[in-house]
């Protein structure tokens, strides 16, 4: 097991370098010139050239690349083209914000989906199951910006209970967490339901009942432990996605998260910020996947890792 952990952690180094190089090449492959973006549509060439010269965009690519990599190796992720603030100062706090939102919404999603999924599997094809199915499907179909805006209009303005934007108190967390969590919960419920049905059909369930185990024990211990495999995979993916930041949720609830920063930096070709954001995000993502794989082995002994 430890061999696996060490291998994955060692992998993070080269992976980061690979990503940085890949991004650098990509940014110079796709159209879009930061100097033009900075100067604006109507700026004369003189202005554009002066910016390009001032920011070192006119250096040959390999020089720019080498200068960037050496700085990164010393832990300096460079400064943003726009705000000229160090990348770490603008990226790191956003990762913390996104992580808070992601973890809370995934916990919300997990509890809701495990509960609903198991219930609808126990009452397979009976009215309760049908209701859960339709509700979870509606949850998936509603785009986050619709559910978000409606939640704001109803809870914040009409009822006036909850604040709309900002992060200062716990009450600010309720709407974004539930909106983002609801989407993930809807997805996970469907998967939990189908995996639970699969598991409940197995022979060891009959054995468990033959032992005199209660229905609760049969479903939530014997069946659930076996259904956890695909569920954990999806949970890991869901966490990965939400850690990447849900651009829409962050825009609607004005949540200064990683998602919005990453997308904006791509659209405005602010390469240092994109690199910094994706660099941190990839590290977190690899860690999340490592944790998921460890949980995997713990849950399913048949998968040998030693």
């Amino acid at each position: 097991m430890t061999k696996l952990i060490v291998a994955r952690l060692l992998f993070m180094g080269p992976a980061a370098l690979l990503i940085v190089t890949f991004l650098f090449a990509l940014f110079h492959l796709i159209p879009g010139d930061p100097a033009v973006m900075l100067a604006g549509d109507n700026a004369p060439r003189a202005v554009v050239d002066s910016i390009r010269q001032a920011y070192g965009f006119d250096q040959p690519l390999h020089v720019q690349y080498w200068r960037y990599v050496t700085k990164v190796l010393q832990g300096d992720l460079g400064i943003s083209n726009y705000t000229r603030d160090p990348v770490i100062d603008s990226v790191f706090p956003r990762i913390v914000n996104t992580a808070q939102l992601a973890i809370l919404s995934m916990l919300f999603a997990m509890t809701v989906s495990l509960l609903l999924g198991c219930i609808s599997a126990m009452y397979w094809n009976r009215p309760l199951d049908k209701i859960v199915t339709v509700v979870s499907l509606l949850g998936i179909c509603t785009p986050v910006f619709v559910s978000g805006l409606l939640a704001i209009y109803f809870f914040s303005i009409y009822l006036g209970w909850l604040p709309i934007s900002g992060m200062s108190s716990w009450r600010h967390f309720i709407l974004p967490v539930i909106t983002l969590g609801a989407l993930q919960a809807a997805m996970l419920t469907r998967m939990v339901r189908s995996c639970m049905v699969d598991a409940l059909g197995k022979d060891y369930i009959t054995t468990a009942r033959a032992k005199g185990a209660s229905e609760f024990l049969v479903v939530f211990k014997h069946a659930l432990r076996n259904a956890l495999l695909p569920i954990i995979t999806l949970f890991g993916l869901g966490l990965g996605h939400t850690l990447g930041g849900s651009v829409v949720t962050e825009t609607i609830f004005n949540w200064p998260g990683l998602g919005r920063l990453m997308v904006n930096s791509i659209l405005t070709r602010d390469l240092p910020i994109t690199q910094g954001a994706i660099f941190f995000f990839s590290m977190i993502f690899i860690l999340v996947n490592l944790v998921v794989d460890l949980i995997y082995a713990w849950v399913d002994p048949r998968i040998r890792y030693d």
Binding site: Y204, G212, D300
Partner: protein
Amino acid sequence: MGDGAPLIEVKGLKVHFHTEDGVARAVDGVDFTIAPERTLGVVGESGCGKSVTARAVMGLIEPPGRIEQGEILLHLRDKVVDICRLDPRGREIRDIRGSEIAMIFQEPMTSLNPVFRIGDQIVEAILLHGGMGRSQAHERAIELLDAVGIPMPRQRFESFPHQLSGGMRQRAMIAMAMSCNPRLLIADEPTTALDVTIQAQVIDLMNALRRDFNTAIMFITHDLGVIAGMADDVVVMYSGKIVESAPVREIFHNPKHPYTQGLMNSIPSLAVWGARRLKAIDGVVPSPFAHQQGCRFAPRCSHAMEVCRARSPELLEAAPGHSAACFLHQAAP
């Protein structure tokens, strides 16, 4: 049947499955009794309803299956309980399952939960019915693993099902079943999935346990050889009904129902020298969905008479302790 009160009395049991394709009459009126500390062999081709009967006794009939009619009387020390009337997911039936009646299944590969250790699954069975702390249960489980002949029981306690062979897993199942000294052990084709050598070991093991734990066994199989080595009394089932019931010697040497005779003729016997063609019973087992007048075996029965096609025979005594459901041995009413 043995003297004294029976352990299990099954009367007029009917279990039907309501599926889209129609109503399947898996068990269509079955009567038999199981005496304490005796082994009842239930034999019949696959699809004759023997497994459904076994699960009915354990109260494991889940929708779309439903017990239409009949009683399954379990004689406990202080009272008699009708298992048919108990709620399959209720508290009362759960106290019986695993402690009064235990069950082992055909597929050792899938009957044990793959993600839990063998020992833990046995400990769970013990703890479900109380009377012991966790550490005591731990030791008890190891004793049981040893009792069923699993080498290095302390280490095997920690291993997972997929780390054991088919035979070992079946032994673990038996250990789990016996963990609460059940008064009846239902074995639903426990040897079918095993190869012959392991089969013999499991049968010897069950006979030994029967004596040590003086447990009654309801042994379900389609293998007449296993019945011969195992059963005290035998019940032969055909298409949801019992066609013959007698002590094991009677069944093998003096089969009265044409179907039982057909089964006996289809066994290769060492006793008879020289090659003789084995006689197979011609025709096919009727579908459980079919509504058929008269005796279900009539279409395939060489002695079929007019009355056999008109009405279905009752299971009546043709000789002391030996009953058959066939008009050959009863006066037509």
